[in-house]
Symmetry: C2
């Protein structure tokens, strides 16, 4: 059994989407055990009349909910009875609990995870690693995408090691091609951080480092992992996602401007639906926080049932593949670099 704690509140479609996602995951993964964190009476009510294996579901009653505009530090201090903080505490205290999934406030989750759950041995800074689809049908992980706005070259090497193992163990990518996000391809490009990181990544035997990547090539399929500081990683992810969304919106608007185009679009309806699904990042799960001592997955605030299910599946696969102990092993080899 793999036991995962699901924070059922905090998302735009919570708790309904979280419960629907939970039931789909239970159906799909036969040795999954779920702890549902939130208002127990409300959650039980949502489950009434639903088909599921009740022996694999527990409840963690938590009456408080965290608003998305609350300060992370306030949340930890003042919202001790919230679904997120209770989930984090259970993950810390219950040895049988392997992972947690939340669609709530990112800042609060990072703060709670770092202070309550702690880091893997040797890890200096845990980092977010969301996954994006590439145009040739593959996936690319971007690490870090926002947990650390300021980093050192050694942080970047750790992000590379963690994300590379993640892509290999959870997505079956053999010998992942790791790139460093930079303003040009040549080794000497960028600031001192990038130049030193380039050298460090080249020297790390466990990595298949393929050099610098410019942001325009993120979706090209030529890279499996992109390493960056959390600021530019955040810019990269959101610019890519935002452009796809705006472009598809513009296409739709332009189609509706003419009945001829509407006719053409009707013929192509299936294709447009597929394009929309392809660029819908919900279909690829959440952003995992790599480097915490237990698995933490952050789903998008707008997650619907399918996205919640994907997040649970990610957490499950991270645990099943023993990713954390593999990370620890390699990270500790280079631990003497830590300041």
């Amino acid at each position: 059994m793999i036991k995962i704690v699901l924070d059922c509140y905090g998302g735009d479609h919570s708790p309904e989407a979280n419960i629907d996602g939970a039931l789909a995951a239970l159906e799909q993964l036969q040795d999954l055990q779920l702890v549902l964190s939130g208002d127990e009476a409300a959650l039980r009510k949502l489950l009434e009349g639903r088909q599921y294996d009740a022996s694999r579901v527990e409840f963690l009653h938590a009456p408080q909910v965290i608003g998305c505009d609350e300060k992370p530090t306030d949340v930890i201090r003042l919202k001790r009875e919230s679904s997120m903080i209770k989930a984090v505490r259970l993950l810390r205290d219950d040895d049988s609990a392997a992972a947690m999934v939340s669609t709530g406030s990112t800042g609060a989750l990072v703060a709670a995870a770092l202070t309550r759950i702690g880091r893997l041995r040797g890890v200096i800074r845990p980092a977010f690693c969301p996954i994006l689809p590439t145009v040739n049908g593959g996936l690319v992980g971007v690490c870090d995408s926002g947990a650390n706005v300021e980093v050192t070259p050694e942080h970047l090497r750790q992000f590379a090691i963690m994300a590379s193992l993640y892509m290999e163990n959870v997505y079956g990518v053999k010998n992942p091609r790791v790139a460093l996000l930079n303003v040009g391809k040549e080794a000497e490009k960028g600031d001192e951080l990038r130049q030193t990181a380039y050298k460090l990544l080249s020297e790390t035997a466990e990595l298949n480092f393929v050099g610098n990547m410019e942001s325009r090539d993120l979706l090209s399929g030529n890279y499996d992992v992109v390493v960056c500081d959390g600021f530019s990683g955040n810019v990269l992810i959101k610019a890519t996602e935002g452009t796809a969304v705006e472009l598809l919106k513009k296409l739709k608007k332009d189609i509706y401007s003419s009945w001829v185009y509407k006719l053409g679009a009707a013929i192509m309806a299936k294709m447009f639906k597929e394009e929309k699904d392809f660029f819908n990042y919900q279909n690829y799960g959440g952003s995992v926080l790599l480097g915490t001592s237990k698995v933490v997955v952050k789903g998008h605030g707008s997650s619907k049932a399918r996205a919640v299910q994907k997040c649970i599946e990610q957490a499950y696969r991270m645990q099943a593949s023993e990713l954390n102990s593999k990370m620890e092993e390699i990270i500790c080899k280079y631990e003497h670099y830590e300041a």
Copy 2:
């Protein structure tokens, strides 16, 4: 007369595209004078039999060409007879020359412009400001997009002032809405650089500062100027451009996978052409270098005639609107902040 020096070599389609662009610009702007820099015999040959006002064209013979993989510092030192370096020198030495346009190596152009042409009074660091189209038909300028990978809050304020005046004077945007690129909208988001810059931008009376912008909103039409360090600005621009290109490529590939889709696409051919044009950044001109004492415009290396023409038009409008003296006036008000 406004005299502009055009570097006719260094681009992927040089010198043909540069000459075609030059002739189109001469046709369009009646008081434009052009100096064509490059191999004079070759350029004269390209002009043979073409219709144009020869009284408004001069030649600057320059036998050397700069490769795109040459080190900028080597170029300045060793390629003194190249079309780019000779153009820069002429711009410096000829009081009647107002601006230059080049589609050659960015690094070499920046290095040459900074060392040979110098900065406007009060400007600490010149910065690139490319223009992108927004989904509601407007334009947005991104400053800096790569000239300065490391910046201070005061640099960011100068970028904001320069880019705001640029959008107002060259594109007629009234009271441009200026945003700071950040990882979230709230004032306290980001690192110390962003937090201090936020405060500084808020306090600058000449700016219509509207707060932080996340990269996903670049094309939304809610902003006219986005201010950022050159590293994240470069990531932003290339991710936005790259995603649009990859998405349109994917659409095309998917259309060709089925004859039904091909039929639908045939009906919509005009629309797809328009979308492609919309997201073709060549149609919006080059990336101007704001803050040099004379106007410098950098066209994309892949510029065709239309893009070269647009770049010349940008340089012309910058000069015609007396942008540089307007910039200097406001920048100097805050000069005492300079370290």
